[in-house]
C-alpha cells in the first residue's frame, strides 16, 4: 500500500536576476509511489532534483504542477499528516546553547499529540536519545558536538514523535566512515524495529545499495528508472545501472 504518491509533480524555480527572472527546472513530471515499510533511496547527481522532490513532499515549497499525497492526503495542508512525518534536512543545526534534552522538549511541545505527562515525556526523550546513541550527551550543550552527533540529534527530533514516515535528505553527508556505518545501522534498526517507512536522498551509490529496498534514479530533473534490490544484487551492479541511466542525459547536455 503506497504511503507516499508523487503524481506528475513539476517544479520550476523562478530565480530573481538584475532586471528579469530566470527559470530553472527543479523536477519535471515526477511520478512515484513508495510503499509502507520500505526503505526507498533517491539517487542522483547534485542538482538532479532529489532535494526538490523531498521539499515538495514536505510542503516547504509549492509545486508548479501535479501533487504529492502522503498517507492519502496533501501533506502541505494537513497538520494531522505532518505530525506523522519525520524530517532530517541536509544541513542540520541546532542552537548551540541548548542541550539535546531541551531541544527535544521544544519539538515535542510543538506537536499537539505530545500533550502528555512530564514523566512520560522525559522517559520518551531518554528512550529516543538511547536509540540514536546520545544518552551520555543528553545534558551537554550542542555547541561542542561533532557533525555525527548533530546528525544523530537531527534523527532524534525526526523520530521523537513516532512518525510513520521518515524523510532524510543526504543523511550521510559530511559524516566520517564510522559515522556513515552507524547511520546505516540506525536506519535499519528504525525500519525493522519501529516499522518506519524511510525515504532518503543520496548521491552515494555505496550507501544507497546497502540499505534500500528500491531505488529511483533521477537525472536531468526527471525520473529515469526505478530499480529493486533484486536487480542490483542478482544482475548488474547499482553503479553500472546508475551510470547507464545518467550518462545519456549528461551527453545530451541536459542539466543533471
Amino acid at each position: 500500500m503506497p504511503v507516499i504518491e508523487f503524481q506528475n509533480l513539476t517544479k520550476v524555480y523562478h530565480l530573481a536576476g538584475f532586471l528579469k527572472t530566470r527559470q530553472a527546472p527543479g523536477i519535471d513530471s515526477f511520478s512515484l509511489e513508495i510503499n509502507e515499510g520500505e526503505i526507498f533511496g533517491l539517487l542522483g547527481l547534485n542538482g538532479s532534483g532529489k532535494t526538490t522532490s523531498l521539499r515538495l513532499l514536505l510542503g516547504l515549497i509549492r509545486p508548479t504542477g501535479g501533487r504529492v499525497l502522503v498517507l492519502g492526503s496533501d501533506s502541505a495542508r494537513d497538520p494531522a499528516v505532518r505530525s506523522r512525518l519525520g524530517y532530517l534536512p541536509e544541513t542540520v543545526s541546532f542552537p548551540g546553547t541548548l542541550t539535546p534534552r531541551e531541544i527535544l522538549r521544544f519539538f515535542a511541545r510543538i506537536d499537539a499529540r505530545a500533550s502528555q505527562r512530564k514523566d512520560e515525556l522525559e522517559a520518551r526523550i531518554t528512550e529516543t536519545l538511547r536509540i540514536v546513541g546520545l544518552s551520555a550527551a543528553g545534558e551537554r550543550r550542542t555547541a561542542g558536538f561533532s557533525k555525527g552527533m548533530i546528525q544523530r540529534l537531527g534523527i532524534a527530533q525526526a523520530i521523537f514523535h513516532q512518525p510513520k514516515i521518515l524523510v532524510l535528505d543526504e543523511p550521510a553527508s559530511g559524516l566520517d566512515p564510522l559515522g556513515i556505518v552507524e547511520m546505516r545501522e540506525l536506519f535499519l534498526k528504525l525500519n525493522q524495529e519501529l516499522k518506519i517507512t524511510i525515504l532518503f536522498s543520496s548521491h552515494s551509490i555505496g550507501e544507497v545499495e546497502k540499505v534500500s529496498h528500491r531505488v529511483a534514479i533521477i537525472a536531468g530533473s526527471r525520473l529515469q528508472k526505478i530499480l529493486t534490490k533484486a536487480e542490483w544484487q542478482n544482475g548488474q551492479s547499482l553503479e553500472k545501472l546508475f551510470l547507464d541511466a545518467v550518462r545519456p542525459i549528461q551527453s545530451a547536455g541536459a542539466h543533471v
Binding site: G59, L60, T91, S93, F107, R109, I110, A112
Partner: protein, 266 residues
Amino acid sequence: MFNRILVIAQLTLLEQVRDKIVNLIFLFAGVVVYFGVVLTQLAQGFEERFFRDTALAMVELFGLVLLLGSAYRVVRQDVRKGSSVEMFFVRPLRRWEYLAGRFAGLSTLLLVGMAVMGGVQLGIITFKGFSWHWLFAVSFAELYLKLIIVLALAFLLATITTSQASYLASTLLIYASGHVTQLMKLLIARQDSTDTVSLILLKPLTYLLPDFSFFGTANRWEGIAAGAVSFSIGGLGLTLLYTVIYAGALVVFSSYLFSRAEISPT
C-alpha cells in the same frame, strides 16, 4: 495555536538569553552606564539631568543593537541556513505562528533586558543620592513601546530584504526618519496645497513611517516636572494603542509575506 506560539517564544528567549552576544551587550550596557555615572561628576550643576539623558540614550542604543541582531537572525539567517527552522515547518506549526512566537520571544527579551538596565539605573540613582521621579518609569515604558515598533519594522525588513546590509540600512533609515515624521507633517502643512510633490510623495509617507513623537515624555521632562507642561495617563494610553496598531499591522504583514515565501534550498 497559543501553545505553539508560546513554545517558540520560550525557545527564542532561552536561545538569546544564553547567547554570549546578549551577555556581552548586557556587559556593554553596564559599562556605559557606569561611565555615564563617572561623567556626571563633570556635569556640575546638572548631574541628574545629564545622568538621566545619558542612561536613557544608552538603554535605547542597547535595545536597538539587541533587537536588530536578533531579529535578523531569527527571521532571515535561520531560514537561509535551512537549519532547525525547516524541522519546525514540517511539524503542525504554521509559519505565522513561528513568526509570532519569535516576535513574542524577542519582545520579552527586550523587556528583560530593559528591566536589568532599569535596575542598574535605579541602583545608581540610589548610590548617587539622586531623586527618584515617576517620569523615569513613564520614559522607560515609552522607550519599550518605541523599541517594539522598531522590532516589528526589523521583522518586516528582514522578511523582504535580500542582504544583511540592506536590512540594517533600511531599518536604521526608517528608525531615523521616525524621529522627524512629526516635523515633516508640519512642514508639509505649511506648503502651498498645489505643491504636488509634497502632496503625492511626502504626505502618504508621513502616515506610513512610524511617528516617534508619541514617545517624547523624556524630552518634556523638565516642563512636566515643573508643572508647566501637562501629562495625562490618557496620552500614555494613546501611545500604547498606537504601538499595538502599528506594530501589530507590521507583524501581520510580515507573517503574510513569510507564509508565502518559499524557503530556498541551501
